[in-house]
Amino acid sequence: MQGRSRKWAFGVVPLGVFFLVFFLFPEVYFLRAGLYKTDTFGQISSSMTTETVANAFDGFYPHALYRTIELCLLTSVFTLLLGYPMAYAIVRSRRWGGAVFIAVVAAMFSSAVARVLGWQVLLAINGPINAVLHKVGIGPLHLSNNFTAVVIGSVHAILPIAVLGLMPVCEMVHRAQTEAATSLGASPWRAFWRIFFPQTWTGVVSVGLLVFAVTAGAFTTPALLGGGRVAVLSVLIYTLASQSLDYSTAAVLSFVLLVIVGLAVAAGLAVGRRGTRTTITAST
């Protein structure tokens, strides 16, 4: 029994060491800078101060925080609206399921740069989307190098992961349940909303929160598709750290971002666990 109870250490110890050396230590080392002040480019003051933190919550930075949350919320909502029907089709449709699945997975393996450049071409003021809109008498719309472009790009980037996350959620509801509902006189629409959807919504919320967290931390899409005009936290941190060399402010904003992502992940896990717990406790 002694030997058996220690076996977990073989897995946990290397993982712990790795986490400590390559994540926690650099993270703390970097975040510590927030308690100091950047005097000149790249030089951190020798004495601790709350000045940087105070400055960070003044002026422009709260707007960046608001922008980040707005981007994450919109991305989560649109991703779920698109991803849920796709996951449903993959799980339920004999005819379309395979094709949708392949399309989703293929999108996941495309490079981020190709994806972004593709959207830049599509969304350009003289691009194909505006050309189509022009034909039906709308536009031209400013779709590129702005917040709209970032939302579109973010949804595209995260959609495959969301669909893969929603598939097991949809698979949980056995086909016989919706069949039972139809045998009892329910229309397919009613069977979906009364039987299928209620059993999946906790899964939907936790996938939504995951999307939220991943989008908050994403840098490539907002940096490239925003055309430098969409100042979400991740982009700001990059600019501060690599161009202004203001490590202290970058550290403060990083901490704020870390808290947002952390809260979203924790909420997602809590919702997910609550969903499973009801079934587990109910079965005992």
Binding site: H174, A176, Q177, E179, A180, A181, T182, S183, L184, G185, A186, S187, R190, R194, I195, P198, Q199, T279, A282, S283
Partner: protein, 400 residues
Amino acid sequence: MRLPQNSPSSAESATTTTRSAPVTVEGLTVRYGDTHAIRNVDLKVKPGEFVSLLGPSGSGKTTLLRSVAGFVIPDSGRILMGDDDVTRLPPRYRNFGMVFQRYALFPHMRVADNVASGLKTRRVPKAQAKDLGAEALALVGLTAEARRYPEQLSGGQQQRVALARAMVIKPSLLLMDEPLGALDLRLRQQLQADIRALQQRLSITAIYVTHDQEEAFSMSDRVVVMNAGRISCQGTPEELYSSPGSSFAASFVGHNTVFSLGRADVPADGTIAGLPGQERPFRLTEPVAADTSSVHFVVGIDHIRCYDHPAPHAEEATVLGRRFTGLNELVTVQVRDTIMTVLAPASGPEAGDRVYISWDPGDLHVIEETADGSVVRAGRAVDSSVASPGNSSPRAVVGQ
């Protein structure tokens, strides 16, 4: 939404007799891609009749049931409920109740809401729905569990809830797809009796899919044996047991031994001798039919004698294994190349022991079939008073 004619919004109670519909299936064919799940199936179920579809997995029994439900759209053929052609009618308009293999209760609803869900769909007034639901739950003995969630119930209780949920809408037809497959034997037998009693009390038409012959035999008015997408044969449990209508049914049901001969192996004069354990020759009283390609001789297990000592006309056999069923002890024996299951003699022989097997041609049951397995003729048509042993020992004997 068009409501089924047989809506429970009338003042009837759940325990009164429902109007049950006859079901007619005509020339039904269902293909999945290139394979036929069922081909050209005809079936008539009388009002109030309990019919079991019995067969191995892949025999098409579930596909046939799901076609009747409307979950499968057939490639050709018709399904009638009463006089209405429902072949292409969506399931929700067909007014049947269905009990599924894994219960398929709605886990996010309480037992009472599960049972009432069909009434809610039919817009039955709340108070009335509550009464009807309570009555249906009482019918399956689960009144005390009304406020629980399905996962809080045992498998047997869950399936009873499913039964109540299916019955509360007063369906004109009850469909069951291996509903007891996930339950242990004792519970299964209890529920078999419960379901049968309920079905008879409400005299509702029922179609029941199972691969368990004991289940089919103990519950049904009529058993339909399916194989490879066709109805192999059908009859009351007694008929199927004593005189199975097809060689497949004979080998699937009970513990019959089937000796199969190719058409070419049947001598011109119809005299058969030398089958393993055969006591004396016999003669087919009628010539083999024109389109027959194989002739099957079926001997029921209770007609095969097994001695632990040499006996007149008995043939030596080797015991391969023994099996105790609870009621009796069976041994599997090998006679020449044929393997048979017989009732063990009192001495209880072990594997490797010698026993002696014999059977009387008078107890034979003969089935003639075409190349694709359809039955040409089934019945007792042998003359076992043939005097001379003859010299026409058949080749290629296949026993099952």
